[in-house]
């Protein structure tokens, strides 16, 4: 069943040199699955995630034929109505918990605030729910963590707290924007496993935005590859290594690999046609 339907999304920014199109005609649907959006910097992948949540402020301009959450078009909603959607129905986890957690509030205060924003509950009920959520993200000493400040946490812990905070209102869709890029390799796996379990258990849809092709291929069900604001290829994650578009192939071949040593890495030759071609639709 389709949770999210995005059709013909455009995000434009006016600059002194004219209008810059950050996202150009992106269309895709999201079911109860893990969808990966892969691209390099400037491909528009983060902008897509933010546009869905209407987090792009003027002078940025967002337009789309529709962004429908279970049939209801989000583009038609007012800002007040969007506030009910954000966090409650669609949540977002960002890259660096150092910058997304409030440094002057304790962890507990922030999680409780996130909960009470969307549920009318007393402080003690919220506290219990927060503890429950921290245990769900494999934090072994939740009471101590509740009393601590974000800067006392390691990167991995901070990211798990972020996930706990974002999932406590029980959203239907989670948008994860490079959630593991700032983490060490050993911690990345743990955080991904947690996201995986929670998304599966709750039947959520996941949009996983990353620049790491291999990570996304490993973790997601379907992958969209973006270049210069457009989707250039859509494929199933397990078939990524058989990808056809020259940009995707170029990206795959330019990665150094431990199991396939080479003297020189293949350098991507950018074809201007890739940016000019229309976006491939990933709508089912």
């Amino acid at each position: 069943m389709t949770l999210l339907d995005v059709e013909n999304l455009w995000v434009k920014f006016p600059t002194r040199q004219g209008v810059f199109d950050a996202v150009r005609g992106v269309s895709f649907t999201l079911g109860r699955e893990r969808l990966g959006i892969v691209g390099e910097s400037g491909s528009g992948k983060s902008m897509t995630g933010r546009a869905i949540l209407r987090l792009i402020r003027p002078p940025g301009m967002v337009s789309a034929d529709q962004i429908s959450l279970e049939g209801v078009d989000l583009m038609q909603k007012t800002e007040r109505e969007m506030r009910d959607v954000r966090g409650q129905r669609i949540s977002m986890v960002m890259q660096d918990p150092k910058f997304s957690l409030n440094p002057v509030m304790t962890v507990g205060a922030q999680i409780i605030e996130a909960f009470r924003l969307h549920n009318k509950a007393s402080k003690s009920v919220a506290y219990a729910k927060a503890l429950e959520m921290l245990e769900a993200v494999s934090i072994r000493n939740p009471e101590r963590v509740m009393r601590a400040y974000p800067h006392e946490m390691s990167g991995g812990m901070g990211q798990r707290i972020m996930i706990a905070m974002m999932l406590i209102p029980n959203p239907e869709i989670l948008i994860a924007d490079e959630p593991t890029s700032a983490l060490d390799v050993s911690v990345q796996r743990q955080v991904l496993d947690i996201i995986d379990t929670l998304v599966k258990d709750r039947g959520m849809g996941l949009i996983f935005i990353s620049h790491d092709l291999n990570l996304v291929a490993d973790f997601c069900d379907r992958v969209l590859i973006m270049y210069s604001g457009r989707i250039v290829e859509v494929c199933d994650a397990d078939k990524l290594h058989d990808a056809k578009h020259p940009y995707t192939r170029g990206l795959l071949n330019s990665l150094p690999r431990l199991d396939a040593p080479r003297d020189r890495l293949e350098v991507l030759k950018r074809d201007p046609a890739w940016a000019e071609a229309p976006s491939v639709s990933a709508r089912i």
Partner: protein, 246 residues
């Protein structure tokens, strides 16, 4: 005959009760013309070793030998003609108000070269940037271009050892391939010795022939890249790191 030899290096920050030991008893050798990798997670001390070798960290003990000669506490100018460094973040390693020409020109001037004009042009050619880039400012350059300028700057004094601190981790994958190829070519052309720090095992596997694995300030294992590729690590931490990277 080893080009760079580090014996029992200890690096610390702060003193007394606030002392933090970033590197403990590190020892390794790098032969001339070789490429040596140092891998580890954040906080393992790998970047600190490089900074101590090059003299950016004043508090260290141990022995550092460059080309057989011990390195004194205060680095003489001749040291910087032999050892140079490329930093991680291309956005932070170039002065925002200096053009590429000024960056390279100043470096050449400080090292006492007289044919600065010709050398600047040659350096830009060597790193794959054309003359168009000579008078640009950093904010007019992409990440990959800035890193090329940083490499040109490091090559200006004609060093023999290049220390590379995660040179491509802030770059896109496609740009990373270009920069790694450039580094490979330069090493072959100029007979350089590399010490490369990275958290990415596949990058180290591609660029280096031997590597050291660091954890919490200590070198836990030194291995050949062949062993790395065969997933044959001896120390349990190295095995963990390998397993997590694939």
């Amino acid at each position: 005959m080893s080009m760079l030899s580090v014996k029992d290096l200890n690096v610390w920050f702060g003193g007394g009760r606030d002392r933090v030991d970033a590197v403990k008893s590190a020892s390794f050798d790098v032969a001339e013309g070789d490429s040596f990798g140092i891998v580890g997670e954040s906080g393992s001390g790998k970047s600190t070793i490089l900074r101590a070798i090059v003299g950016l960290n004043p508090t260290w003990t141990g022995q550092i030998l460059v080309d057989g000669h011990p390195v004194p506490k205060r680095r003489p100018k001749s040291f910087y003609k032999t050892v140079q460094m490329v930093f991680q973040d291309p956005y932070a390693s170039l002065h925002p108000r200096h053009s590429v020409d000024q960056v390279l020109g100043e470096t050449l001037f400080l090292h006492g070269f007289s044919d600065i004009e010709a050398r600047v042009v040659k350096l830009l050619d060597d790193v794959g940037l054309g003359r168009d880039f000579r008078f640009r400012y950093p904010h007019q350059l992409s990440g990959g271009q800035r890193q090329r300028v940083a490499i040109a700057r490091a090559l200006a004094p004609e060093p023999r050892i290049l220390l590379l601190d995660e040179p491509t981790s802030a770059l896109d994958v496609s740009v990373q391939a270009e920069i790694l190829n450039l580094l490979t070519d330069l090493r072959a052309e100029h007979g350089l010795t590399y010490v490369m720090v990275s958290h990415d095992l596949s990058v180290v596997g591609h660029m280096c022939s031997r590597l050291a694995v660091m954890k919490d300030g200590e070198i836990v294992e030194i291995m050949d890249v062949a062993d790395l590729r065969a997933m044959q690590a001896k120390h349990p931490y190295s095995q963990e790191l390998l397993a997590a990277s694939v």
